[in-house]
C-alpha cells in the first residue's frame, strides 16, 4: 500500500514530464529541427493502440480466457504485414487530399459529402465514449488499488464518492487540459501535432518498459523462469485450462480477430497517428514490422502475469489489475508504482490522441457546417475566424473527454475493461465496408454509403449499446429479455431468433451483413453525382495517377478574396506564408484584385480543407468564388478524356511492341531469302558444272573423231564408248534432276502399297551384288526382326536403298572396303542402318550432304572422288520424308559413316498415300 500523496505526486511529476516533452517537441518542430519525423517515433506513436485495455485488461482477459487476448494484437499485425495494399493507399490518398480525420477521408471519397461526414463524426464520438470511459476507469481503479491494497477492492468499483474526490474526474480534467494545450495551440494547415506525437512516443516507451519490468520480476524473481511458472500453472486445473484453446472460443476468436483488424484502421485515434500525423510514407515501411514487434514485446509477459496472479492472489482480487496487485502482494511497492505510471501513460496517451482526433472531426465536420448554414451568423463575412475555430476545438475536447467521464460514472463501472473496449471496436468497425470498399470499388455511391452506415450503426446501438445501458439500469432490462414491444424476435441479443452466438458476435454478424449489404445493393441502384465520380476515380486510382489534382473551378474570384478567406481560418501569418510560397513557386501574383485562376482556387480549397475539412472548405470557397463552378459533367469529360489518353498511349505502346516483333520477323525472313538466293546461285553453278563435265568430254572426243578420220579402229571404238558412257551419265543426271524437280514440286506419281521393307532390302542387296563384287567389298547383312508392313511406294524405297548402298560401296575404304547393313523392326516402324568404313563426313557437313549437289567436301589423300550425280541423297531425303520417315547420318571423320533410315508404320493407309 502506498500513500495517496506519493501516488498523486508521482502522477503530477509524470504528467509534468509529458508536458515538457510535448512543449519541447513543438519547439523543435517550429524551429525546423524536428526529431519527431523519424520512423521510430512514428512506430511508437502508433503504439497508442496499446491503451490501459492492454496494460491492465489484457492480463485480466488472459486470466479469464487464456490466449484469446492475443487476437486483439494479431489482427493489427495482419494489417501491418499487408501494409503495401491498404495502409499505403490510405496514406497516399490522404496526403494528396490533405485529409485531416477519418470523417474527412470517408466524406471526401463520396463527393465531399457533409451528411456523411456528420454521420461518421457522430458514430466516432459515440463509439469512442465507452473507450475513453474505460481509460478513466483504469486510472481511477489503479489509483485505488495502489492506495488501498489490503483493504477490499473486490466489489465492482463504483465511484459513489463526491465528484471532486473522484480520481477519475481529476484525470479527465488533466487530460482535457493537456489535449487543449497541445492539440489546439494553433490551427495547422496539415494538422500535424509534433509535440503531441513526441509525448505519445515517450509514453509508449514508458508503458512497454513498465510492463516488461513487471513481467521480468514475475518470471525471474518470483519464479525461476518462464518454464517454472508454466510448469506450476499446468499442475493446477484452473490455470492449466488457460494454456490451451478454450473449447467454445471458435467464433469468438474469429470475431475478435476481425474486429481488431478493423479497429486499427477505423479507430479515430489510430487514423490520426497512422495517417494524419505521418510525414513520410517511408516511415510506414519501417512501422510495418516494427509495430508488430512492439505488440509482441508488449504481450510476451501478459499470460505469465495472469497465471502468477491467479496462483498467488485471493479470489476477490480483480484480474484486470494483477499488474499492480502481484508486485504489491510481494511487497514491491516501487515496482507497483512503476507499473502504475505505465498504466497511466497507456490511459493518457489514448485519451489525448482520441480527444484531439475527435475534436478535429467535431469542429470540421459537425460544428462548422452547422454554423455555415446559419446565415444570420454571417460567418463568411467575419474577419478572423481562427479564434472561433480554436474555441470550437477546445470545447470539443472537453466535451469528448467528459462524455467519457459521464459514461464511466454511470454505465461503465461494472464491466471488465476488455468488454467495454470491444463495444467501441464494434462501433468504429462500421466504417470498414465504405472505407475499404471505397478504396477499391469505384461504384460505391454516397447514398449507398449513407444507407449502409446508418443501418450498421443502428444495429450496433440496438444490439450492443442498449444492453449495456440496460445493465447499468438506465433502461428497463425487460427490453433485453422480452424484446422491444414484447416481440421476442426483437430481442437485442437474439435478433430475429439468432440466439446461438455471444452478444458481440451476434451484433457483428447483423451489423456487418446489413451495413455491407445496404452499401453494395443501394450503390448498385443509385447513381453518383459528378463530384462523387471524380473523387471515386481519384481514390481508387490513387497509384495510377501522378499528381492527380483536379481543378474544378472556373475562375471568377479575385486573388484578394481568396487570400482574405484563407486568412480568416488560418490566421494572418500562416496565410501570408502559404500564399507567398505558392506565388514564388508558380511565379504568379498572390495579392491583388486580379482574377484568381482555377489552380489558385483549388489551392485555397486545399489549404482550407487542412483546417476545416474538405466538405466545409468546399462550401467556404464557393461562397467567395461567385462564378459558376465548371459543370461537373465537363470535368468528368476531362477526367474521362485523360483516362482515354492513358489507355490510348498504352495501346500505342503495345502496337509499337508488335511492330518491333514484326520487324524482327521480317529481318529474319529477309536473311533466309538471301541465304536461299545464295543457295540458288550455288546450285546453278553446280548444275552447270555437273553438266559440263560429261559434255566437255563428249565434245572433245567427238572433235577428235571428226578431225582425225585416219584414227585406228580400236581407238575410235574406245572414244565412241566414252562418248556413249558420258551421254548415259548426262542422261542419268538429267533424269535424276527431273526426278528431284518433280519430287520437290509434288508432281511425282506415287504408287503406295503395303510393302515389306525386309524383302525390299534383301532384293536390293541381291541386285547390287555385282557392284560389291567388282570392288571386292565385304558386305555384312543382318536383317532381323518381325515382319512389318509399310504403306509406301515400293520402287521409290528401292531407289533409296540402291542409293545408300551404292554410296556405301563407293565411299568405303578403297583398300579394304567393308559395308554393314542392318535392318530392325521397331514397335512403330522399320529402321535400316547402312555403315561403311570410309573416310567419313565432317560434322558440319552431316546435314549439308542431303542438299542438292552437295558432297562430302574433303576426300582423303587427294584421290579422285567417286563419280555421282550428287542428287541421290537429296532424292532419298525427299522420298523418306514423303513417307513421314527420317533419314540422317552419324559419322566421325576417319571412321566411316552410318546412314539411318527410319520409316514409321503409317497410322492409316490414307495418310501415307498423301
Amino acid at each position: 500500500m502506498l500513500s495517496s500523496q506519493v501516488v498523486i505526486a508521482v502522477s503530477l511529476i509524470y504528467v509534468g514530464l509529458l508536458y515538457s516533452i510535448a512543449w519541447w517537441g513543438d519547439k523543435r518542430a517550429r524551429a525546423g529541427r524536428s526529431w519527431v519525423r523519424n520512423p521510430t517515433v512514428y512506430t511508437l506513436s502508433i503504439a497508442v493502440y496499446c491503451t490501459s485495455w492492454t496494460f491492465y485488461g489484457a492480463v485480466g482477459s488472459a486470466a479469464r480466457n487464456g490466449l484469446e487476448y492475443l487476437t486483439i494484437y494479431l489482427g493489427p499485425t495482419v494489417i501491418f504485414l499487408g501494409w503495401w495494399f491498404l495502409l499505403r493507399k490510405m496514406l497516399r490518398i490522404s496526403k494528396a487530399h490533405r485529409i485531416t480525420s477519418i470523417a474527412d477521408f470517408i466524406s471526401s471519397r463520396y463527393g465531399k459529402s457533409t451528411q456523411l461526414s456528420v454521420l461518421v463524426t457522430l458514430i466516432a464520438v459515440i463509439g469512442t465514449t465507452p473507450y475513453i470511459a474505460l481509460q478513466l476507469k483504469a486510472v481511477a481503479t489503479s489509483y485505488t488499488v495502489l492506495t488501498v491494497w489490503g483493504s477490499s477492492v473486490s466489489g465492482p468499483f463504483v465511484s459513489t464518492s463526491h465528484i471532486f474526490a473522484d480520481s477519475g474526474f481529476w484525470a479527465a480534467t488533466g487530460l482535457a487540459l493537456f489535449g487543449i494545450l497541445f492539440g489546439t495551440r494553433f490551427i495547422d494547415a496539415d494538422e500535424h501535432h509534433e509535440g503531441m506525437v513526441a509525448a505519445i512516443a515517450f509514453e509508449s516507451l514508458v508503458k512497454l518498459f513498465a510492463l516488461l519490468a513487471v513481467g521480468i520480476f514475475v518470471c525471474f524473481f518470483m519464479f525461476s523462469g518462464l518454464g517454472d511458472l508454466f510448469h506450476q500453472a499446468s499442475e493446477v486445473p484452473r490455470t492449466a485450462s488457460l494454456l490451451k484453446l478454450q473449447p467454445e472460443s471458435g467464433t469468438r476468436w474469429f470475431t475478435l480477430m476481425a474486429l481488431s483488424m478493423a479497429a486499427i484502421l477505423t479507430l479515430p485515434r489510430q487514423f490520426q497517428v497512422i495517417v494524419v500525423e505521418n510525414v513520410d510514407e517511408r516511415h510506414l515501411a519501417t512501422a510495418s514490422w516494427a509495430f508488430p514487434a512492439y505488440l509482441l514485446l508488449m504481450n510476451l509477459f501478459v499470460l505469465p502475469i495472469a497465471l502468477a496472479g491467479m496462483g498467488l492472489l485471493p479470489d476477490w482480487a480483480d484480474p484486470d489489475f494483477f499488474v499492480l496487485s502481484v508486485p504489491l502482494s510481494q511487497g514491491q511497492s516501487l515496482l507497483a508504482l512503476v507499473a502504475y505510471v505505465g498504466g497511466l501513460s497507456a490511459s493518457t496517451s489514448m485519451v489525448i490522441v482520441a480527444a484531439i482526433a475527435l475534436s478535429t472531426m467535431v469542429c470540421n465536420d459537425l460544428v462548422i457546417p452547422a454554423l455555415l448554414r446559419l446565415r444570420w451568423l454571417r460567418l463568411t463575412e467575419r474577419d478572423d475566424l481562427t479564434g472561433l475555430l480554436l474555441f470550437i476545438r477546445r470545447a470539443s475536447i472537453v466535451l469528448v473527454v467528459f462524455m467519457g467521464y459521464i459514461y464511466y460514472r454511470s454505465a461503465g463501472a461494472g464491466d471488465a475493461l476488455a468488454e467495454i473496449g470491444l463495444i467501441s471496436f464494434a462501433a468504429t468497425a462500421q466504417f470498414i465496408p465504405i472505407m475499404v470498399g471505397g478504396l477499391f470499388w469505384k461504384g460505391g455511391t454516397k447514398t449507398g454509403a449513407l444507407t449502409g452506415l446508418t443501418a450498421g450503426f443502428a444495429i450496433w446501438a440496438y444490439t450492443l449499446l442498449l444492453p449495456s445501458f440496460a445493465d447499468s439500469g438506465w433502461i428497463d432490462p425487460k427490453l433485453i429479455t422480452d424484446g422491444a414491444f414484447g416481440h421476442p424476435w426483437l430481442r437485442p441479443e437474439a435478433l430475429f431468433g439468432l440466439d446461438h452466438f455471444a452478444p458481440l458476435t451476434h451484433a457483428l454478424i447483423w451489423s456487418m451483413a446489413l451495413n455491407a449489404g445496404c452499401f453494395i445493393v443501394v450503390s448498385l441502384f443509385t447513381s453518383q453525382g459528378g463530384l462523387e465520380r471524380i473523387q471515386a476515380t481519384l481514390f481508387v486510382d490513387a497509384f495510377s495517377r501522378k499528381g492527380g489534382e483536379t481543378v474544378i473551378w472556373r475562375s471568377s474570384a479575385t486573388i484578394d478574396d481568396l487570400y482574405e478567406l484563407v486568412e480568416r481560418f488560418l490566421g494572418r501569418e500562416r496565410a501570408y506564408h502559404a500564399f507567398r510560397d505558392y506565388g514564388t513557386s508558380r511565379h504568379t501574383a498572390w495579392r491583388g484584385k486580379g482574377e484568381a485562376n482555377a489552380d489558385m482556387i483549388a489551392f485555397s480549397e486545399r489549404l482550407l480543407a487542412g483546417s476545416i475539412g474538405a466538405a466545409s472548405a468546399r462550401v467556404m470557397v464557393s461562397s467567395v468564388a461567385k462564378g459558376e463552378m465548371v459543370s461537373l459533367d465537363e470535368v468528368l469529360e476531362i477526367l474521362e478524356e485523360t483516362s482515354h489518353v492513358i489507355e490510348h498511349s498504352q495501346r500505342l505502346e503495345q502496337k509499337s511492341r508488335e511492330l518491333e516483333r514484326a520487324a524482327a520477323e521480317l529481318r529474319a525472313a529477309n536473311d533466309r531469302l538471301k541465304e536461299l538466293d545464295r543457295l540458288k546461285d550455288e546450285f546453278l553453278t553446280m548444275v552447270s558444272h555437273e553438266f559440263r563435265t560429261p559434255l566437255t568430254s563428249i565434245r572433245s572426243f567427238s572433235e577428235i573423231l571428226v578431225d582425225t578420220p585416219e584414227l585406228e579402229a580400236e581407238r575410235t571404238e574406245r572414244f565412241l564408248n566414252v562418248i556413249v558412257r558420258e551421254s548415259e551419265r548426262l542422261t542419268r543426271l538429267i533424269d535424276d534432276h527431273l526426278d528431284l524437280a518433280r519430287l520437290e514440286a509434288g508432281h511425282s506419281d506415287w504408287q503406295p502399297g503395303n510393302v515389306d521393307p525386309k524383302a525390299v532390302l534383301r532384293e536390293t542387296i541381291d541386285a547390287l551384288e555385282g557392284l560389291f563384287n567388282n570392288r571386292d567389298a565385304r558386305l555384312m547383312v543382318d536383317i532381323g526382326g518381325d515382319t512389318v508392313n509399310l504403306f509406301v511406294d515400293r520402287d521409290r524405297l528401292t531407289q533409296v536403298f540402291i542409293n545408300l548402298l551404292s554410296n556405301a560401296a563407293k565411299f568405303a575404304d578403297p583398300d579394304k572396303p567393308e559395308v554393314f547393313v542392318r535392318g530392325a523392326t521397331h514397335k512403330d516402324g522399320y529402321l535400316v542402318t547402312i555403315s561403311d568404313n570410309g573416310a567419313g563426313i565432317a560434322d558440319d557437313e552431316a546435314d549439308l550432304i542431303f542438299n542438292k549437289f552437295a558432297r562430302g567436301g574433303k576426300y582423303p589423300g587427294d584421290k579422285p572422288r567417286p563419280s555421282g550425280s550428287g542428287l541421290g541423297l537429296a532424292i532419298s531425303k525427299h522420298v523418306i520424308e514423303h513417307c513421314h520417315g527420317r533419314i540422317w547420318v552419324e559419322s566421325k571423320p576417319g571412321q566411316g559413316a552410318t546412314f539411318h533410315v527410319f520409316i514409321p508404320v503409317a497410322r492409316s493407309g490414307a495418310s501415307a498415300a498423301q
Binding site: L67, L70, T71, L74, T77, V78, I79, F80, L81, G82, W83, W84, F85, G225, L226, G227, F230, H231, S234, L243, K244, L245, S249, G250, W253, F254, M257, E281, R282, A285, T286, S288, W289, P292, A293, L296, L300, L303, F543
Partner: protein, 74 residues
Amino acid sequence: MTPPAKLTERALVLALTAFLAWVPPLVGVFSLDGAVFGLPVLFVYFFAGWAIFIALCAWITRKLRQSAQQQGDL
C-alpha cells in the same frame, strides 16, 4: 532482382498466411498438452510464429522499398 509484381504477391501471401494461421481451425491444431522448450505448445506456436512473420515482413519490406525506390514510387 526479384520483379515488383512477385514481391507484392509475396507480401499479400504473407498477410493472408498470418491471418489463416491465427484463426480457428488452425489454432486448434496446436492446442496440445505437453511442452516445447519447457513452454506450453500453444504459447510457443503464437510467439515464435509471430516473430517469424515479423522477420519475413521486414525482409520483404526492404525488397519492396528497394524496387519502389527504383521506380520512384516511394
